[in-house]
């Protein structure tokens, strides 16, 4: 299934051309097409890592702004998606490390810790923020999983998101995170054990 997803998200043939066009002429149109193509992927990763819609939005914006700034120096040494994931992950990591994110996370964590047991009442508005996911019928499970993810340390969460949600290969995750594949595997295994522990009785 993951492979199916991978094939579904594989870069379009014109991706390289869009990048080169931007590199040639700083074409805003090319940049916009790249954003539109990858915005959901980036936003999803950001949301799963940060656990917050607004934070994810900010991180996604920041990711693409970094892409805009540095795309001119992109040398195609890795896949654009790998490069994009790397930027997104680093952006989220920085945000999580920031003081404001830590304060925000406390509020989310306290709220979401109780939310699955309380039937999801008031979930997603822990910070008083709007969360469209709340509107979905199956959102409860999703929020349970997200709560379990939020409990993981950031580095494990990132790996779990990349592997189990985004379906990236160990090799690509190693490229994105800069870790060795063995380290990636062992950490992902650790993250899974923790997640399964959290989700026991829910899944």
């Amino acid at each position: 299934m993951n492979r199916e997803k991978d094939s579904g998200e594989s870069p379009h043939p014109d991706e390289g051309e869009l990048i080169r066009k931007f590199q040639r002429s700083s074409s805003m149109e090319a940049f916009d097409l790249l954003v539109l193509k990858y915005q959901d992927m980036v936003f999803n990763v950001c949301f799963r890592i940060t656990g917050d819609y607004d934070d994810a939005s900010d991180c996604a914006q920041e990711t693409f702004i970094r892409v805009y700034r540095h795309l001119a120096s992109f040398e195609f040494r890795s896949a654009f998606s790998t490069w994009l994931y790397r930027i997104a992950v680093n952006t989220c990591r920085n945000r999580l490390a920031s003081a404001s994110a830590r304060m925000g996370k406390k509020t989310i964590s306290l709220d979401r810790k109780n939310s699955p047991e309380e039937g999801g009442a008031g979930l997603g508005i822990a910070n008083g923020r709007s969360d469209p996911e709340r509107l979905y019928e199956k959102g409860e499970l999703d929020r349970a999983i997200q709560a379990a993810l939020d409990k993981l340390p950031a580095e494990l969460r990132i790996l779990a998101v990349l592997r189990d949600i985004e379906g990236k290969s160990y090799e690509e995750i190693a490229a994105v995170t800069g870790l060795r594949q063995g380290t990636v595997k062992s950490r992902i295994s650790r993250a899974r054990r923790s997640l399964r522990q959290e989700l026991r009785g829910i899944i």
């Binding site: 299934m1 993951n2 997803k5 916009d32 954003v35 539109l36 915005q39 959901d40 980036v42 936003f43 999803n44 949301f47 799963r48 819609y53 994810a56 939005s57 996604a60 914006q61 920041e62 693409f64 702004i65 805009y68 996911e133 979905y136 199956k138 959102g139 499970l141 999703d142 999983i145 779990a160 189990d164 949600i165 379906g167 295994s189 899974r192 997640l195 399964r196 989700l199 026991r200 899944i203």
Partner: protein, 347 residues
């Protein structure tokens, strides 16, 4: 295959990364072990659930926000760059400004104080009509003309202290063979004045002044001389006009082609004419003062026997309008009279 090993391989098995043989072993164990099968089912469910999680959709205004932030940051970047540039320029200046400002103010103040008076002098001096020579001439004028009696009286003591060498030099200068050797103009003036003073002390001579105006009949004289020269081929020493314009044989004997132009070099003529008139009157040229900038003789100090003074002045007046003159009383016919002849600017 035992349960422990099977559990370790379950993740790889789900991901399809195991060799076919090992995969078969795992499958066989799962069929026989309920615990491991339950573990497998739980893990598979977990994997499927996470992979099938709702994928979040980016906010519809994400692209607009990105554009907004890029634009904002570019503006901010420009502002920041501009601010940094301004800071780079003015921040060090802000620290150094008090010291530099104080220094600058001090320099400006000094320049103002020092140069302003000079500028006034520079403005006034040229109006009096001369560069280097005229700077000194008006001073001499007032000293010797307007304040002459007072200055002489007050300066008597000082004059009495003039060393004997200078007196001897003065008497030497007053000898028939006058050294025409050029010395710096200022030194000449100083010597001249000292000579005059010492002579006044020793004898009853006085230093007098004659200021000549531009000679009007120069052109006529030149023409006349040129004509005479053309006819005779020789310089007629008897003719007054010849004396005026061609006093020097070296000049007169030179090639006829450039003779007129030489004659027209009137500064030489004036200088030499005065020399000749002075010699004719039994006097001597003591010194000449030359403008170092132009090379034109500005003043000639001559010593004339008092008896011939009237004749001398008559001949001078015949050639140049005498603008000012300060001369001794006619009754003093004994001794010599030292006169500074100030030559006209346009000779």
């Amino acid at each position: 295959m035992k349960c422990r090993r099977t559990k370790k391989l379950l993740e790889e098995y789900i991901e399809g990364n195991l060799d076919r043989d090992i995969e078969k072993d795992v499958e066989e164990h799962l069929r026989s072990c309920e615990k491991c099968a339950a573990e497998y089912n739980e893990l598979k469910k977990y994997r499927d659930t996470l992979s099938l999680m709702n994928r979040k959709v980016a906010p519809p205004d994400l692209l607009d926000r990105i554009h907004g932030r890029i634009h904002e940051q570019e503006e901010k970047g420009i502002t920041v760059l501009a601010r940094r540039a301004v800071e780079r320029i003015f921040l060090p200046a802000r620290i150094k400004l008090p010291v530099e400002a104080a220094g600058l103010i001090a320099v400006v103040f000094l320049v103002f104080v020092l140069y302003n008076p000079f500028e006034e002098v520079k403005r006034t001096v040229p109006r009096e009509g001369g560069p280097h020579v005229e700077d000194t001439v008006p001073a001499m004028k007032t000293k010797h003309r307007a304040d002459a009696p007072l200055v002489r009286k007050t300066d008597d003591r000082k004059r009495a202290r003039i060393p004997d060498e200078e007196v001897r030099l003065a008497s030497k200068v007053a000898q028939p063979k006058i050294s025409e050797k050029k010395a710096p103009a200022s030194a000449e003036v100083a010597v001249t004045e000292k000579i005059a003073r010492s002579e006044k002390q020793d004898s009853k001579d006085s230093l007098y002044r004659v200021v000549l105006g531009p000679r009007i009949e120069d052109e006529a004289a030149v023409d006349k001389y040129a004509k005479e020269k053309a006819y005779s081929g020789n310089l007629s020493r008897d003719a007054d006009s010849a004396k005026r314009v061609a006093p020097d044989r070296s000049v007169a004997d030179s090639g006829s082609e450039n003779e007129v132009s030489r004659i027209k070099a009137l500064p030489v003529s004036v200088n030499m004419s005065i020399s000749r008139i002075t010699g004719d009157s039994g006097g001597k040229v003591i010194s000449r003062k030359t403008d170092p900038a132009t090379g034109i003789t500005r003043s000639i100090t001559v010593s004339i026997p008092s008896a011939n003074l009237e004749q001398y002045m008559k001949r001078l007046r015949a050639q140049w309008p005498v603008k000012e003159e300060q001369l001794p009383e006619p009754e003093s016919d004994k001794g010599t009279v030292t006169i500074i002849i100030i030559l006209p600017l346009q000779q």
